[in-house]
Amino acid sequence: MTESTRSTTELREPSREASREAVISVRDLKVRYGERTVLDGVSLDIYRGETMVILGGSGSGKTTLLRHMEGLERPAEGSVTVKGVDLATASRATLTALRRSMGVSFQSAAMFNSMTVGDNVALPLLEHSALAESTIQVMVRIKLQQVGLTHVEDLYPTQLSGGMRKRASLARALALDPEILFFDEPSAGLDPVIAAGLDDLILRLKSAYPITIVVVTHELSSAFLIADRMCMINEGRILAVGTVDEIRGNPDPRVQQFIRREANEASEASSSYIMGV
């Protein structure tokens, strides 16, 4: 565990955090792709029922961290435990069972383009439940209504706008009533109005269901709105973990630079070069 991580996760309010159940535990996770270190000893606890927003710049390692929590990547060094299951050693069957309690909304929506929206949302129910097909059709309509979509069951994903595709993807993620919901860059590529609509949707989900939500984003306004706690990650290391106010008041200059959206020296130098100064 890094110094900065220890200062934020262990020293801050130990009694409050000790009394809560960590549904996801990441311990000393190290990920390398060839010579490049993407995650360097990351440790993080995510508690049941909270909304954790993982913040960080492009290439900081936040999506890699999310993929390890989702079980899409197996940890080579360190450990990731979800609902008590160590993902590094879990069998294929255990991992499959665990994934039924998770929902994932992907950055690109990841809808199956060869299937209608209705079939996309019905797929997890058809595969993992014993419900009658007529009941599944009703549930599909309910799930789509929950995310604000109506009369789109028979359309193909390519016939939807970017925001509608993300909502449909969320409806599919909610199909099995997951305990943990992961969002990868929910507002990426969307205009501010539609992005705000998605934030609203996440807030409504939070209040309606006892669900643990993990969101990866670099959109500050969205992050501050939906988060119970936030984790700031930079160059594969956790800089700070805490509530929204704690992150706002964090003295680390890199955290403050990100929050204030200040350019770094390298980009200032390149803009000087472009301006011919």
């Binding site: 994934r99 039924r100 992907f106 990841a110 199956f112 797929l123 595969e127 993992h128």
Partner: protein
């Protein structure tokens, strides 16, 4: 890098590739039982039927043309030589046995590689690039089970069927040649072909079709599953799937022919 290092790295890469194919094949066999029409809701069975249409029915017209042309070319080339020895009637044997044992399955495989193998690879690679395969895993569905198995089962059924059609087209084209050069009616030509063909010829052709079909699906899907580099990678994986499939099919053909030559005379 020394020559020895280059050879070593190349060998390790090839061994790794064969290993991946073997693991994928093993999981595919394990999941194949789930595609039974009598299990669950029969979702995989329905997907298999759809794949049968894509792989089989739509490949049929072009395959019949290619195999018919091949049969005709073979008859013309053989006729040019056999005429000098007054052994024109050997064309019936030559076209019949060569199409059944060798060229029928090979032509069917090559047409399917070009038409369906490339499409399979592009489809799977696009699914990988657009995170659809990750979405399947996140929904507790194995991409091998959901994507590969229906294609594999469809290919196991359809490539032998296409091979039969390929053989028939080639023989029929040879019959047209015989009609004009040997004064042999089509019916007489076909009945003579049926007389000279042995069960061994037919079985060896169908066994080859099953092996070729397995190679095509597994190579195409593996190239798709392991794609990297976004949309450019999709193009590379498609090209790679076609090249590797053709190479491995020809290699498998050589091994099968050698086996049948020595062990089933």
């Amino acid at each position: 890098m020394t020559l020895l290092e280059s050879v070593g790295r190349f060998s390790i890469r090839q061994a790794e590739y064969i290993g991946r194919l073997a693991i994928q094949f093993w999981y595919c066999l394990r999941f194949s039982v789930r595609a039974s029409p009598f299990k669950g809701r029969g979702l995989r069975w329905k997907r298999t039927l759809r794949q049968m249409g894509d792989i089989g029915v739509r490949s049929l017209p072009v395959l019949c043309l290619v195999s018919g042309a091949t049969g005709m070319i073979m008859a013309l080339q053989a006729g040019a030589e056999l005429r000098r020895f007054g052994a024109m009637e050997a064309i019936v044997t030559m076209v019949g046995t060569t199409m059944t044992r060798e060229l029928g399955p090979l032509m069917a495989a090559i047409v399917v590689i070009g038409r369906s193998g490339s499409a399979i690879s592009a489809e799977v690679a696009t699914m990988a690039v657009t995170e659809e395969l990750d979405a399947l895993r996140a929904m507790a569905l194995d991409p091998i089970d959901f994507v590969l198995v229906p294609k594999y089962l469809a290919m196991l059924v359809m490539l032998p069927c296409l091979t039969v059609m390929s053989v028939f087209s080639g023989i029929l084209a040879g019959g047209v040649f015989a009609y004009f050069t040997l004064d042999l009616t089509l019916l007489a030509y076909l009945s003579r072909t049926a007389e000279i063909l042995l069960m061994r010829d037919i079985v060896s052709g169908l066994v080859k079709a099953v092996i070729f079909g397995s190679i095509i699906v597994h190579v195409s899907c593996l190239e798709g599953f392991t794609v990297s580099g976004g949309p450019v990678g999709v193009g590379h994986s498609t090209t790679s799937a076609v090249v590797k499939s053709i190479f491995l099919v020809v290699l498998a053909d050589l091994l099968c022919t050698t086996f049948f030559y020595f062990f089933w005379r």
